[in-house]
Amino acid sequence: MATALSGLISRPIPLFTAATLLRAGMLLYGLWQDANSPLKYTDIDYLVFTDAARFTFSPSSSSSSLSSLSPYTRETYRYTPLLAWLLWPTTLPGTFWFSSGKALFAAADLLAGYLITLILQRHMRMPADRACRFASIWLLNPMVATISTRGSSEGLMGVLVTALLWAVLERRVALAGVLLGLGVHFKIYPFIYAPAVVWWMDAERMGTSPSSRPQLVTKRSSGREKKKGEVRSSQTKTAQTSTLQQKITAFITPQRIQLTLVSLATFLGLNAAMYAAYGTPFLTHTFLHHVTRIDHRHNFSPYNVLLYLTSASSSSSPHLLGSSPAPLSSSTSPPSFRIESVAFVPQLLLSTVLIPLVGAKRDLPATMLAQTFAFVTFNKVCTSQYFLWYMVLLPLYLPTSSLLHRPARGLAALALWVAAQALWLQQGYALEFLGRSTFAPGLWAASLAFFLVNCWILGVVVEDIGGASA
């Protein structure tokens, strides 16, 4: 049985067939549940997307038909119009077409899985069977399959990020630029990959350096037997001798310029086009919303309860008396140091500066995982959909991870990650459905515990990238 299973997931065709069947089965089950139960399988977000697609393409369904066709007619549509365009087939009549968006998201999952096997084989020199086994972590993951067949668009981000990584490792700079620009336009967060990719793309690696050994480096077959210390001392020497100007000139390579220009052009071009088509609502809902949102509802972020507290004290206005709750007392007067107003500092410092700087040149896929992990962990809002952002990179990190080589550590990490979430979910359930005031200390402590677990796991990933533990 175990060998049969292992055989199944070790070859591409059975693996992808299994992944496809898993999604097809869940999709069909979802259709059945939606048609027969008042509790819906389909995610609320999918209804938002498909409503938005209808508002974009068919004037009749819009209540204010005089206004121009726009996905932003649908409240809480906070995405690029590209998503609504992609879902045009869902506006066709019938359940089959209505569900085509879920099929698209599930197909995106599969494509991301395929790119994972490609990267593992071509760039991490892994045999096909082993690559398939690691890709199955993503492809056969029930959480991933559920999220996309319920109609959440995170699968599209998975494919954009893996494609970006693949294009970079293949040295297809222009394509990488387009994917990066597109990814940021789609969901903002992939901008964190830009510094890692740029830092990774040095002249040596891209094979354009005027200095020696370009071939050796790009083919990853350096036979030099220099000791570590010697490398470092020589590096130091070079660093000492080269002036700042030389360093900058060395840093600015044609590929880096190309990547920057192409990605910026893609990002800005898409934004300009969408702004031209949909005007201010596009900017307001897709980008500015993320600046002005309060994020007061309970979620996994360590800042969550604090944001609820501070948003309430800044909103309590003097003329709201009577039935409204008493104005907040002086106990919530602004503290001397307000961490939530500088929350982006640790988050961006880690995910866009420190982790890429230390990791990108060693192991780009694992660095991108660490960046995403840091970004999600230190974010002001965090829901379980965000976990998919780093899960897609997990198969590329686990082969070299101490979490796998030292099973006790790996199991401990998994157990703590699940336990902290379970604790939070239990507190969240008591609040949401039983009406118990569990904001503090329950939910607050659980989110901080989850945060600390994530920091520890992030530390392990960083260590693994450094190769310090093995």
Binding site: K40, L47, T76, E204, R224, V358, D363, E432, L452
Partner: protein, 496 residues
């Protein structure tokens, strides 16, 4: 100023016409068991200056207050509203909605209500359905008229003790209506009291026309099904020397049904409380015309319904609901209570009674959602949610019109959502345990007593986590620098 006082009694509580004593400007008689309506019609100029100023900037202003006590209705005053203070307003052309005048006056007259300006606190009513709606709506869960009583005493009762007594009776009123429109240019103030023992002794001021009616239900010949018939005695004080007997009928848009309903919130409340309506009969009031049962809710802003959730037939059907017929637009689905200024939202839902022929009791459930509210000491805040108005809306036969009737109320919020030929058959609200139609529910909020730990605690933990990761990064950097494939590889080789 004109006054119309109407007493309405059951047939068995009738009095002898001869027992009434009509004086020069007075009427008195034996004690009555009656419901009473008192209507005062004032010219705008008779009002306090600040109210005159407000009305001159208004095109229409209708204020309706309904008691939170569950009481039987009697007579033609059968229309129902969710308990609380409702305001319907259309400004004059050119009047700025940001003006604080209306809310300031509402606060002066009714007490401390949560209202800043029509632009910020009022919601927009649809103008595409029927033309007789006002432009804006406001609602507040005002439980008593005590502030209004004080206000009226100050302005209307300067020298007169008798007046004070009359005004203080407002504490027992079931409903209070204030109506103004720029065309009639008069203000009508109408209060209704429930059935009770009352002394009959009315004196009128020489300058005021006062009409007193003592009425009881009757069936005049040729009474149409949509009409109400009454008989009784009318007296105009100072003009009539004896009461004149009358028998007349008038079209009644609002009627009582025999059935009643109660509403409760299912426990546990959580952040998504469900309001359950328990209706004791599934039978429409009339077999001749098409009737459908509706619930009209005025939801203060801390609680709301999600129109997208109420869009799925299977889901609606599982709650015994037919469809969402109207909801204030837009309703923010995300904002916390403390970041909003709009009063809330009104909702009209069509209910789905069981299909059987028998008048069986049944329930319908309305799923609602709470917003986050300001942190409070102890971790909980109590809120009041008014019970809805539940009625059968029946389409009268072709050609039936409801011209202005002497007793019907208009501009109730829901009447403007139906066509002019619709009549409303009200299902009586039965009280909850304490006799109130206001539901109190407990909302979990952040405990203020804990809040001083939140800021320092979060900062400390975030900094700790950040420092740990930075330390890990730093140790990697100090060992092997930026690393490159070459050096990393060599490190590995060295280890081998």
């Amino acid at each position: 100023m004109r006054q119309r006082i109407t007493f309405f009694h059951r047939n068995e509580h009738g009095i002898e016409p001869t027992s009434l004593e009509v004086g020069d400007r007075s009427i008195s008689g034996p004690d009555l068991v009656v419901a009473r309506e008192h209507r005062v019609t004032l010219a705008v100029e008779e009002l306090p200056a600040e109210l005159q100023e407000l009305l001159r900037s208004s095109n229409e202003l209708y204020i309706r207050w309904s008691t939170p006590r569950a009481l039987e209705s009697l007579g033609p005053w059968t229309s129902r509203l969710p308990p609380g203070l409702h305001a319907f307003y259309t400004p004059q052309k050119g009047e700025v909605l940001e003006s604080l005048r209306l809310c300031t006056q509402l606060r002066t007259v009714f007490g401390d209500i949560d209202c800043s300006s029509p632009a910020e606190s009022f919601t927009t009513l649809p103008n595409d359905r029927f033309s007789h709606s006002t432009a804006y709506q406001y609602f507040h869960t005002l439980k008593s008229l005590s502030n209004f009583t004080t206000y009226v005493e100050q302005y209307a009762c300067v020298p007169k003790e008798k007046c004070k007594e009359r005004v203080e009776e407002l504490a027992n009123a079931v409903s209070l209506d204030l109506s103004y429109d720029a065309i009639s240019h008069v203000v009508k103030i109408t209060a209704v009291w429930p059935e009770a023992h009352q002394t009959l002794s009315i004196n009128s001021h020489p300058d005021h026309r006062t009409e007193v009616g003592i009425l009881t239900p009757d069936t005049p010949p040729h009474l149409e099904p949509h009409e109400l018939g009454v008989t009784g005695l009318l007296t105009v004080l100072g003009e009539d020397t004896k009461p004149s007997p009358v028998l007349f009928s008038f079209p009644a848009r609002h009627k009582d049904t025999e059935s009643s309903f109660s509403s409760t919130f299912l426990k546990p409340w959580g952040l998504h409380p469900t309001m359950q309506l328990h209706i004791d009969s599934s039978k429409p009031p009339s077999d001749d015309v098409r009737c459908s049962l509706h619930a009209y809710l005025t939801l203060p802003r801390f609680i709301f319904a999600d129109k997208y959730q109420l869009n799925d037939e299977l889901f609606l059907s599982s709650k015994n609901l037919t469809a969402l017929r109207y909801m204030t637009q837009p309703v923010d689905l995300e904002a916390p209570d403390y970041a909003m200024k709009l009063w809330g939202s009104s909702v009209l839902l069509e209910l789905q009674p069981p299909a059987g022929q028998d008048a069986e009791p049944w329930t319908a459930e309305i799923p609602l959602h709470l917003r986050y509210m300001s942190p409070a000491a102890g971790g909980y805040t109590n809120i009041d949610v008014p019970s809805p108005a539940v009625f059968w809306a029946c389409t009268a036969e072709d050609g039936t019109q409801f011209p202005n009737s002497p007793f019907d109320r208009v501009n109730l919020g829901y009447d403007g959502l139906f066509g002019p030929r619709t009549s409303f058959w009200h299902v009586k609200p039965a009280p909850e345990g304490d006799g109130s139609l206001m539901h109190q529910i407990r909302v979990p909020v952040l405990d203020l007593d804990m809040s001083k730990w939140i800021s320092t605690g979060t900062s400390a933990v975030v900094l700790l986590g950040f420092a740990f990761v930075v330390f890990k990064l730093l140790s990697v950097y100090l060992k092997t620098g930026y690393g490159s494939q070459k050096s990393a590889k060599e490190t590995q080789k060295k280890k081998q």
